[in-house]
């Protein structure tokens, strides 16, 4: 595909994606849960449309390999590049090997064939709808997490109540509760000559004393900088030997762990992991990306294990991919995909949801995995049972949900 070898790019990056052989095995008792406290929710958006059937592989579906003659993942068995068996029907992509330990620990579940009931196969419309929480329409202007935050606990005024990790704030956090975006805890302070910095900051803050969205964000910035300086999180040593991958994603999860342990009032954190739009050479691209995802989640689970009873992690993606691979060794935009749910309150070690099968007559147009679980049913259950939100219908206006799947415990 590419004419270049890209060797120059690979030096630092290749190593980060793969777990070292000495990676510590997890050996923990089942975590307890402090019932009084609401979970911190970590939302991971897999941008680009992740190919769910090559992540959590339905090797037991006889139509799978017919549709994936070159990029399909082989059923579990002896030898390399085999799916990691979960229940005799589904298996993890081999690059997700580390997550099997979390799975076996009972703290990781999959919801398969999850997605939105409306789909036009556009990344940008689909992400937009998914983050608003109103598939197919844009009249509701805030994001689903923004509405959740507005509905619960007005007493928490911490600027770290809601975090968008990275340069920009994800649309799901839009709403009346300002979210803080940050990319690096270590760099999150005002720079300048030390003897002038406090006068400088005082004047700057006074210049932002208006009421526009710029002023609101400036106020939030000064608040977050001050709170973080006071907390002085310092050097961070992950616990339990957790080794986060040295990637943007790994560093984001590590710093979310740091913020959680600093008890700064964090309720919701959003992280993006991009690169899933694999129209070509999927077999080349998928292993590195999944290694990053798997190693990151595994490290986060190990690092936060003492608090995992009050943490829920959920992944989502705007859509899955076409079931039949294309001639580029990739897949075009599809419909349903998967969600990972991780945490002490998750009913883990289970693939939730109804499998629609990959039989031709069961596929959604024009050849996609059909949605059998609306992603809002899953998120609604988490908000209600783990985050103490009794008014989920306000988070997802107009959504008439079916019964919850039982992905988590009360």
């Amino acid at each position: 595909m590419s004419k270049l070898t890209r060797r120059g790019f690979l030096g630092a990056l290749g190593a980060a994606a793969t777990l070292p052989g000495w990676f510590p095995r997890l050996a923990f008792a089942a975590p307890g849960r402090a019932a009084s406290q609401r979970d911190t929710l970590v939302c991971i958006f897999l941008r680009g449309g992740a190919d769910g059937v090559n992540v959590v592989v339905p090797f037991g579906d006889r139509h799978y390999h017919d549709n994936r003659p070159t990029i399909g993942i082989r059923e579990p068995g002896v030898g390399p590049d085999r799916a990691v068996d979960l229940d005799g029907f589904f298996g993890f992509h081999p690059s997700l090997g580390p997550l099997k330990e979390v799975w076996d620990d009972g703290a990781l579940a999959v919801v398969h064939a999850a997605g939105m009931p409306v789909n036009n196969h556009s990344h940008f419309d689909s992400m937009d709808w998914m983050e608003r929480g109103t598939p197919g329409e844009r009249r509701v202007l805030s994001g689903w997490l923004g509405r959740h935050l507005a509905a619960v606990d007005a007493a928490n005024t911490s600027p770290f109540r809601a975090i968008g990790f990275g340069d920009l704030v994800p649309a799901s956090l839009r709403g009346t509760i300002p979210a803080t975006s940050l990319a690096s805890i270590a760099d999150f302070h005002l720079q300048g000559f030390e003897d002038q910095i406090s006068r400088f900051q005082g004047t700057l803050a006074a210049l932002y004393s208006g009421t526009t969205f710029l002023d609101v964000q400036a106020l939030q910035t000064f608040g977050a900088v001050g709170r973080l300086t006071a907390a002085d999180p310092g050097q961070y040593e992950p616990q339990h030997g957790a080794e986060y991958p040295d990637t943007d994603f790994g560093n984001a999860l590590k710093q979310i762990g740091q913020l959680i342990k600093a008890d700064l009032g964090l309720e919701v954190a959003c992280v993006d992991l991009g690169g899933w739009d694999m129209h070509d050479t999927e077999s080349d691209q998928m292993p590195g990306l999944l290694a990053d995802l798997g190693a990151g989640l595994h490290a986060f689970y190990a690092d936060l294990h003492d608090r995992i009873g009050n943490i829920t992690v959920a992944t989502m993606t705007e859509f899955g991919r076409r079931i039949e691979e294309n001639a580029s060794g990739g897949t075009d935009h599809g419909t349903a995909s998967f969600m990972f749910l991780m945490g002490g309150g998750i009913n883990g070690r289970k693939v939730h949801g109804r499998w629609p099968t990959l039989a031709p007559e069961a596929l959604a147009d024009p050849g996609d995995l059909a949605v059998t679980t609306d992603y809002r049913t899953v998120l609604g259950e988490i908000l209600e049972r783990r985050l103490g939100n009794p008014g989920v219908e306000q988070v997802f206006p107009g959504f008439v949900r079916g019964s919850y799947l039982g992905v988590c415990r009360e």
Binding site: T5, L13, D125, F200, L204, L214, G275, D277
Partner: protein, 528 residues
């Protein structure tokens, strides 16, 4: 042809981890949904702090025009534009060939030799450097920043950026690293003020675009829909135009065989039509029958012509131009007039721009456009009167944009950097703007980026704290400050001395970096 591509792919599989690179190097797909499609979505005034005018006094019309159509106002430019008058100044900017920019272009040619190279030559350079095209890519970034900083053709450079962002590509997806240099030279630059149809055709024939959106491997036997979909959704008519998944598939079929040459015979990286990979069957796109059976690339060209002529395209492009130049939520009546100009002139960009930039709605739209990080940096450097930047300095300035989230050609998804304030006004963005402002005025870029703060103070002739604040507001903001803000800045400079008291030059020199950083970091300077 396609077997060459396939064999190259096979080859790569054998290279340990090579496939990881594109995935691993990708930064996350950040916030979406702020600007796709129509109608434009207003930020919730009820749910967020309202977008209301912050300042009691607005800029005058000439300053407004310069703020919107340049990368920032260099000392003296406002006075020159005032003398010329709005129409004459705009007319000059709309005809860049009439502006003598030879000194800058001579520097560009000398400093950035890869800019003029063919794809084959760029491949050879990248292979020699064994850096995956990184140095070629960096040179384009440097040259882009250099031109934004120094070119007199400011509206032209603004439009080049607009089109590069419209036909957005991620610099580090595979061979885009080298091929984007050709794309910039042959698509965005020559056609920035041309006809949209020509621009679209050029982009569709751009090898960089073929690589970025995977059309290079779009073949009859299992079409790749990536380019076809984004061509309609992002480049021409928008996702609300009413096309279907079938249309996407049919467009993809029309474009099968449009690929990139890698024959190893000296024309690597050139666009080529591979008849053997083309689906010659009949197709229907947006209700238009395409008979098929053509031996060349005619099906694809018909699709592009159809899209460029589509009324939804006139509206989509006009809306986007209005969002760039007028307001995050463009005035609908102005979009309608701009779209009418677009249609009646066959997509003449220059004519559409005249409609927009001379409209009452344009001049009435103060405080509607936030500078994006790249524009913030360039505007600061231009206002500071920076004239000396070394290539290392350009690199360091580019690196300084990473924490802000806007580096040229590094938005990974195909919709381009967002151009609405809500996307950029956040804690990370503001904090890093403030820190960048201090880094510039405190001289932290060293001799590589000479920031002449002392010269600015000397030229201002200021003798008092108040005079310094007024002069700096005029130089950096082209406007007067609201009185409370003026008092705050005078207080910062004077430190208890009377505002009108004569103070020594060394004192003003000591206070100036902080003052200028405050002005650059203030809400005033964040607006375009």
């Amino acid at each position: 042809m396609s077997s060459d591509v396939l064999s190259r792919r096979e080859l790569l599989k054998g290279t340990a981890g090579a496939g990881i690179a594109s995935a691993m190097f990708l930064r996350p797909w950040p916030v979406q949904g702020l600007e796709s499609g129509e109608p434009p979505r207003l930020l919730p005034v009820k749910e967020l702090a309202g977008i209301t005018a912050r300042f009691s006094q607005s800029t005058d019309r000439v300053a407004h025009l310069l703020h919107r159509t340049t990368f920032g106002v260099r000392p003296g430019e406002l006075e020159r534009a005032r003398q010329m008058g709005i129409e004459a100044w705009l007319d000059e900017q709309l005809h860049p060939e009439r502006i003598d920019d030879s000194a800058v272009e001579a520097q560009v040619a000398a400093l950035f030799p890869t800019l003029g190279k063919s794809a084959q030559e760029l491949y050879d350079i990248a292979e020699e450097a064994d850096d995956g095209g990184y140095s070629v890519a960096m040179e384009l970034k440097r040259a882009t920043l250099y031109r934004a900083l120094f070119s007199k053709r400011q509206l032209y450079e603004t439009m080049v950026e607009f089109w590069n962002n419209h036909f957005s590509m991620y610099h580090f997806k595979d061979d885009v690293a080298v091929l984007k240099t050709v794309d910039d030279r042959t698509v965005s630059r020559p056609l920035a003020f041309g006809r949209f149809r020509d621009l679209l055709l050029a982009s569709a024939h751009s090898p960089a675009m073929m690589v970025y959106l995977d059309n290079e491997s779009n073949v009859a036997d299992g079409p790749n829909e990536n380019y076809a979909r984004e061509l309609m959704e992002l480049h021409t008519i928008g996702s609300d135009a009413g096309y279907t998944q079938t249309d996407v598939h049919e467009v993809a079929r029309c474009l099968t065989g449009w690929t990139v040459d890698y024959n190893g015979e000296g024309t690597d990286g050139e666009w080529v039509f591979d008849a053997g990979a083309h689906d010659p069957g009949p197709k229907t796109v947006l209700g238009v029958a395409i008979a098929g059976g053509d031996p060349g690339a005619l099906d694809g060209r018909r699709v592009l012509e159809t899209l460029a002529r589509h009324p939804a395209c006139a509206r989509f492009i006009s809306n986007k131009l209005c969002r760039r130049f007028v307001a995050d939520v463009p005035p609908p009546a102005l979009v309608t007039r701009a779209a009418a100009t677009f249609s009646s002139t066959g997509g003449d960009i220059r004519a559409v721009l005249r409609t927009i930039l001379l409209a009452d709605e344009f001049f009435a739209a103060a405080e509607q456009k936030l500078r994006r990080p790249y524009e913030f940096l360039v505007a600061a450097l231009r206002a500071l009167g920076v004239t000396q930047v070394t290539p290392d300095g350009l690199d360091n300035l580019i690196y300084s944009l990473y924490p802000l989230g806007q580096v040229p050609f590094e938005w990974e998804p195909p919709n381009g950097y967002p151009d609405v304030g809500a996307a950029w006004a956040n804690t990370n963005g503001l904090l890093n703007r403030w820190n960048l402002a201090s880094a510039l005025t405190l001289g932290w870029f060293g001799d590589d980026v000479l920031v002449p703060v002392r010269g600015i103070v000397a030229r201002s002739g200021a003798k008092t704290s108040a005079q310094l604040v007024d002069a700096m507001a005029s130089l950096f903001l082209q406007r007067r400050l609201d009185e409370p803000d003026r008092a705050r800045l005078i207080d910062y400079v004077a430190q208890g001395r009377p505002a009108g008291a004569r103070v020594p030059g060394w004192y003003l020199n000591r206070q100036a970096p902080g003052l200028i950083a405050l002005i650059l970091g203030s809400p005033y300077f964040q607006w375009r």
